[in-house]
Amino acid sequence: MKNEHYAYRGLFSIAVLLTLFAVTAANKSLNVVTESKYGSAVYVSEKGFQYLIPPVTGKELYMQACANCHGADGKGASVNQLSLQTAPPDFTDCSFATREPDGDWISIAHQGGPTRGFSREMPAFGDALSREDLQKIMNHIRTFCTDKDWPRGELNLPRPLVTEKAYPEDEAVLTSIFDVENEGAVTNEIVYERRFGARNQIEIVFPFGYSEQQNGNWTGGHLGDMAIGVKRTLYHNINSGSIFSITGEVILPTGDESIGFGSGTTILEPFASFGQILPMGGFLHVQTGIEYPLLRDKAGDEAFWRAALGKRINPNPWGTTWSPMIEFLGSRELESGAVNHWDIAPQMQVTLNRRQNIMLNFGVRIPADDPSRDTRLMVYLLWDWFDGGLLEGW
């Protein structure tokens, strides 16, 4: 028992160190692009007189560097006129234009379309435009979407293993949870999230699992308790880097209670989610809510509170994004004498493809208060399907 205690202390220490690393690691992407030597242009008057007009504003830069293909109005120029094989996107379409953070757009402008698995027809501006120039252009591009109801892509923070994020998304996530102690069990869930409107999202959770029997054989394919929920973003502010949403979820008793894959009752689960951008690529998720079962004899009311702290790191500024995170997970049954349960979950999310819409997160959920509860390995594969198909962008 004492040895187990030391083991948990060790794991906890590692988690804390990972967190420190995550918060302090340098983000090289800030210093890669050099200053532009060509940030000015010559204007030629009708009389042929030439003089320099440095394109100072984002609009001026956009007009000289981008408008040819993307259109002065941001709607994209004619494919036939430009002999393009890929139509330029419509920047005035908020559903498209708000989803990705400035950094992704700037990466593509600096490195060219292929850096995110897009067409080579989007050229790389390289050193012709500085990071500051590109940011000015981005600021101008952001003016094409005039509906400010749409949360900005910067607020779409990396998804933790357990804590639900506040940003409404179009994505599919396959999560697997492996019980690494006592009898074996593998629980999986497929989460399908679909955005509708500027601030809303519907999600469907489809759990299924495998478990080890007393005789050592495995039994599998059991459907768990499916869930359906609706999320709405109540507040978002790109300047403060904050986003707040509430979700109402109903967990249906579709699982087999007798073999441990169901609760036997419908559970209502309202919760609130909050996301905050932190300095130096850091971010914070907070989620809290309650589980309210309709059949009290099957389960009790339970409150939960969760937080995830992490940081985005790009060793290659235009390549893979690593997001170490640590989650703190708490819960308590709402009855007298109940105790708080605490878990910690150090984890690492990594983008797998150039498009960065396929991600993998791998971590371990460690009970921190009660060594008798099982430690579980967790892994998910996430597909942001709005950004492209599974096989695109590699």
Binding site: S36, K37, Y38, A41, V42, V44, S45, E46, G48, Q50, Q64, A65, C66, N68, C69, Q81, L82, S83, L84, Q85, G112, P114, T115, R120, E121, M122, P123, A124, F125, G126, D127, A128, L129, S176, F178, V180, E183, G184, V186, E212, G216, W218, N316, W318, G319, T320, V350, T351, L352, N353, R354, I358, L360, F362, L377, V379, L381, W394
Partner: protein, 554 residues
């Protein structure tokens, strides 16, 4: 249990490592997976890109005064861009392979050199012979090879030509230098301006080419590689029995005073006065931008391409083609020639008019492909407006009244110093003859020109000119047929010598002469049938007046 745990633990790690491996492979200099369905290795072996790759940026070029000088639009309305869509070329090649079936592969290979240069050099880099008809029709191009073929003389043809053999005979007939070894991604593309290193990434990332400055692409010798064409005359069994200088405008220019004054490009690619960017994507102003209009004289084929655009797969928009046609005609009417009356008098019962025709071009007028002709339409009207004499009237079918060659395929009009009756027409043209001295329009049947009185450029000395550009026929002995001009004396009997007579002279140009079109009608092939049908439907507009003059003689 442990075995299962190992599997389910290792599996995600394996996925992670796979993802990392894929991500680390991003240092590829040509970061594409496929190009028009080709894999990366095939794409690297590409020597060219079609013009669409360049047009995206080199378009929307508008001068401060509002003139659109876009390279892409200018080029796609030109004969260069449409060299592979040209239905006359299709018909002419079909005619040749029909006449010389044993040489079909050689003929298609040779003709594709300049009409489908990218497709030609792409396959020849693999030691194969290029085909023409396999890449047609243009509106059904599917493969990368098809698309390179129908793109004609495209951006990455001329801008990749190296200059090491410029001006030498080895460079003619399309034997321009092209680097066949360097893979796409590292290939050089030449331009006249200094390379702006800071901006070079933009072009390289989207096209695969690296910019290099070299002035050689502004030399006439670049154009000479294709526009100096010698064809091999074939005997009955396909044996080579002679060589014909089919078109040699570069050699004509070399023997004119223009050689020290103007290059081909300076006239056919007019310079824009204003400094302006040559790219719409972060371009910087460049002085003396050359328009890529390649203005020439073949307004008729441009009209045909525009009218039959769907069948021929023309990409330029109708209004762009209309503008190009007008530009071509304007060029012809302002830069090619002048006609004026040197002397006009009535002596007793004869009206004598000495008409001078001046060639303003830096080559013969007309030049190049021998289907082109220029002639004098000369008309005299009496005081009542009645026509008392007319030579060289053009008919709606494109033929010239009084021209023996239009009436009979084996006859032709000689060069005239004096014209005394209406059946005589002064036609400046090249007449081709076979080994038996029969008049022909078969390029690989013709072995020599029995008439070449095309008006000489200024400074051209017919006495010292090389055989390949020599004056042929009676024009050689015509004392006033000299460099830059010819004078024809019309001697016309008049019934009322003391009344006034109005003389009108027009110099008319026809890019595809009636005989050259109608001889194709004797072949029954899809290409010849289509072309003759096109020609007949437009023949009333097959010629244009270059210059004219009128004088009333009292």
């Amino acid at each position: 249990m442990k075995k299962n745990l190992i599997i389910i633990t290792v599996l995600p790690l394996a996925v992670l490592l796979l993802g990392l491996t894929l991500n680390l492979n991003m240092s590829d200099p040509l970061p594409v997976k496929t190009v028009h369905g080709m894999n990366l290795n095939q794409a690297r072996q590409l020597l060219f890109q079609s013009a669409g790759k360049c047009m995206s940026c080199h378009n929307n070029l508008v001068t401060p005064s509002g003139e659109n000088v876009s390279f892409g639009i200018d080029w796609r309305t030109s004969m260069m861009a449409n060299s592979a869509r040209d239905p006359y070329w299709h018909a002419a090649v079909r005619r040749e392979v029909t006449d010389h079936p044993e040489s079909q592969a050689l003929i298609e290979n040779e003709c594709s050199t300049c009409h489908m240069p990218m497709a030609h050099y792409q396959v020849s880099s693999n030691g194969e012979m290029a085909k023409v008809f396999a890449n047609l029709p243009a509106n059904q191009a599917v493969t990368q090879q098809n698309m390179l073929a129908i793109d004609g003389v495209s951006c990455t043809t001329c801008h990749q030509i190296t200059g090491e053999n410029f001006g030498e005979k080895e460079s003619f007939v399309g034997n321009f230098g092209i680097d066949k070894l360097t893979p796409m991604g590292e290939r050089k593309i030449y331009g006249p301006y200094p390379v702006d290193v800071g901006r070079s990434t933009i072009m390289h990332s989207s096209s695969g080419f690296r910019q290099a400055q070299s002035k050689h692409i502004q030399q006439s010798e670049l154009c000479a590689t294709c526009h100096t064409l010698y064809t091999h005359t074939l005997g009955p069994d396909g044996e080579v029995i002679g060589e014909l200088p089919e078109q040699v405008p570069y050699l004509e220019w070399k023997n004119s005073s223009f050689v020290d004054e103007q290059s081909c490009q300076s006239c056919h690619m007019p310079v824009v006065k204003d400094s302006m960017p040559i790219s719409s994507v972060w371009g910087q102003p460049r002085a003396e931008l050359s328009r890529h209009s390649f203005r020439g004289g073949n307004f008729f084929m441009l009209s045909m391409l525009n009218r039959y655009r769907d069948e021929l797969g023309v990409l330029a928009l109708p209004q762009e083609m209309d503008a190009a046609i007008n530009r071509t005609i304007n060029h012809l009417q302002t830069k090619s020639s002048r006609v004026f009356i040197e002397k006009a008098e009535i002596n007793e019962s004869e009206l004598l008019v000495a008409l001078a025709v001046q060639n303003l071009a830096g080559h013969k007028l007309p030049t190049a492909y021998p289907s082109r002709r220029v002639w004098i339409h000369f008309k005299v009207q009496d005081a009542n407006g009645n026509t008392v004499f007319e030579s060289g009237a053009v008919n709606t079918d494109g033929s010239i009244t009084g021209n023996d060659n239009d009436r009979e395929a084996n006859a032709y009009e000689p060069h005239y110093a004096d014209i005394t009756n209406e059946e005589q027409v002064q036609i400046y043209e090249a007449i081709l003859a076979d080994q038996h001295d029969e008049v022909t329009t078969g390029l690989l049947t013709g072995i020599r020109f029995i008439k070449d009185n095309r008006i000489l450029p200024r400074g051209f000395d017919k006495a010292t000119a090389d055989e390949d550009i020599a004056v042929q026929g009676s024009a050689y002995k015509d004392g006033d047929f000299i460099g830059g001009m010819d004078t024809v004396t019309y001697r016309i009997p008049v019934e009322e010598p003391f009344s006034s007579h109005t003389v009108t002279a027009e110099l008319i140009y026809q890019p595809i002469a009636y005989r050259w079109a109608q001889n194709l009608d004797t072949y029954d092939t899809p290409e010849t049938n289509s072309f003759v049908q096109y020609y007949d439907s437009m023949s009333d507009n097959s010629s244009v007046v270059l210059a004219s003059t009128t004088l009333t003689v009292e």
